[in-house]
């Protein structure tokens, strides 16, 4: 019975995702991204059928299991771009590092100043990092990863919608600077936007996305410790 339930949940989640991905492929609007629409549909269905999240996760955990190897697989695009990385390592690593620090500190301090409690502040820490890594970082910090997923999406949309305008406003003209700014603040959504600036900006952005994710997982525990001591 339990196996049937789990299998049913896995199959329906995959089905909803595939349909949503097809719709997104047709229209290519950021609001139609399958991670967003798929999640929304599942949440609406579960609430209407009165199914608790814990029941859904009996099947959902099987899909969740693949997050780990998916993060490991990010080594492949990084390896393919190793020459770009080597040639521009200083602006890439320096910019990503600065971005990660700025993002984490400003997020935590603003939330702290507004009087939010520790669990909320922790879940905001990895918001600039690509979702699979952000979920793992926040699990390690011991906070709620579902909130983090939402924050990650908002950060991504901010970069995708206003990124190019913000770059102009802040007078960031350099291709490398633009790519690193979008990748380290708005992960894959920023990277997609960076393609509008050019191939190199997009490639920089995707490198920055992976480097930021790595850097963030090292720095997050340190920043959290500093802020709460």
């Amino acid at each position: 019975m339990n196996i049937m339930l789990s299998a049913g949940i896995v199959v329906s989640t995959v089905f909803i995702y595939v349909v949503m991905a097809m719709i997104y492929k047709k229209f290519r609007l950021p609001v139609l991204m399958p991670a967003l629409t798929g999640t929304a549909i599942i949440v609406i269905v579960l609430i209407n059928l009165n199914i608790p999240y814990s029941t859904y996760m009996k099947g959902g955990q099987w899909i969740n299991q693949l997050l780990g190897p998916a993060v490991v697989a990010l080594a492949y695009p990084l390896y393919k771009q190793r020459h770009q990385l080597l040639k521009n390592w200083l602006p890439i690593v320096g910019g990503s590092l600065a971005g990660v620090f700025a993002g984490m500190l400003s997020g935590m301090l603003l939330a702290l100043a507004l009087g939010f409690s520790k669990p909320f502040i922790l879940s905001i820490v990895p918001k600039s990092v690509t979702t699979p890594v952000a979920i793992q970082i926040v699990n390690h910090l011991g906070a709620d990863s579902s909130l983090t997923s939402v924050f990650v999406m908002i950060a991504g949309f901010t970069g995708a919608v206003c990124g190019v305008y913000l770059l102009r406003l802040f007078r960031i003209h350099h291709v490398i600077g633009s790519g690193i700014a979008l990748g380290s603040s708005s992960h894959a959504l920023g990277t997609a936007k960076a393609l509008e600036i050019g191939e190199q900006a997009s490639s920089m952005s995707s490198i920055a996305m992976t480097i930021s994710a790595i850097v963030a997982s090292f720095i997050a525990p340190v920043v959290v410790w500093i802020v709460f001591h």
Binding site: T13, M33, P34, A35, G38, T39, V43, L46, Y56, G60, I63, N64, L66, P69, V71, V72, A73, A75, Y76, P77, P91, G94, S96, A98, F101, A102, G107, L114, F116, S128, T131, P132, Q136, I137, H140, S145, S146, S149, V150, T158, F170, H173, H174, V175, I176, G177, S178, I180, S184, S185, L189, T191, L195, E199, Q200, S203, S206, S217, A220, P221
Partner: protein, 148 residues
């Protein structure tokens, strides 16, 4: 045959993830095991211990479906919907402001480190060099768009 190859390669990625998690638990590191696995695979690829062909198909496939894998974790937001009706909206503002700050800081630091002149020439050089590869690259980036 191709499906078997992809499944075997994903199993290899999973094994590397397990090694990463084991190292994490063993050394009691505060870094997720998956990130240790990522770094491990990157080093193994660089040192040619693992040839790219061993993980290429599996990585491309698993990254293509990446958004699917974080849907279950994200669905957990259903337990916090009331938050976004009230004070939680302020957290949304915090995320937006902090993201804008991140763009400014990361962009300026990296622009400063890269040296200001030559931005447009570098762009042109890359574009004219890679004409045949350019379209393939853009397809690849379009695939990435689905990720968050």
């Amino acid at each position: 045959m191709k499906v078997i190859l992809i499944v075997v390669q994903i199993m290899l990625l999973y094994a590397i993830y397990l090694v990463g998690s084991y190292v994490q638990a063993w050394l009691n590191l505060p870094i997720p095991g998956s990130i240790i696995g990522l770094l491990l695979l990157f080093v193994l690829l660089l040192c040619r211990v693992i040839p790219v062909s061993w993980i290429e198909k599996g990585s491309t496939t698993i990254l293509f479906y990446l958004p699917l894998f974080f849907i279950p974790a994200t669905v957990g937001v259903m337990n916090h919907l009331d938050l976004f009706a009230g004070k939680g909206l302020l957290l949304v503002v915090v995320v937006i402001v902090s993201t804008i700050l991140t763009i400014a800081v990361a962009g300026h630091v990296s622009q400063w480190l890269a040296g200001r002149p030559g931005a447009h020439t570098a762009e042109k050089k890359v574009l004219s060099q890679g004409q045949p590869g350019a379209s393939r690259n853009s397809v690849q980036y379009r695939e990435k768009e689905t990720r968050v």
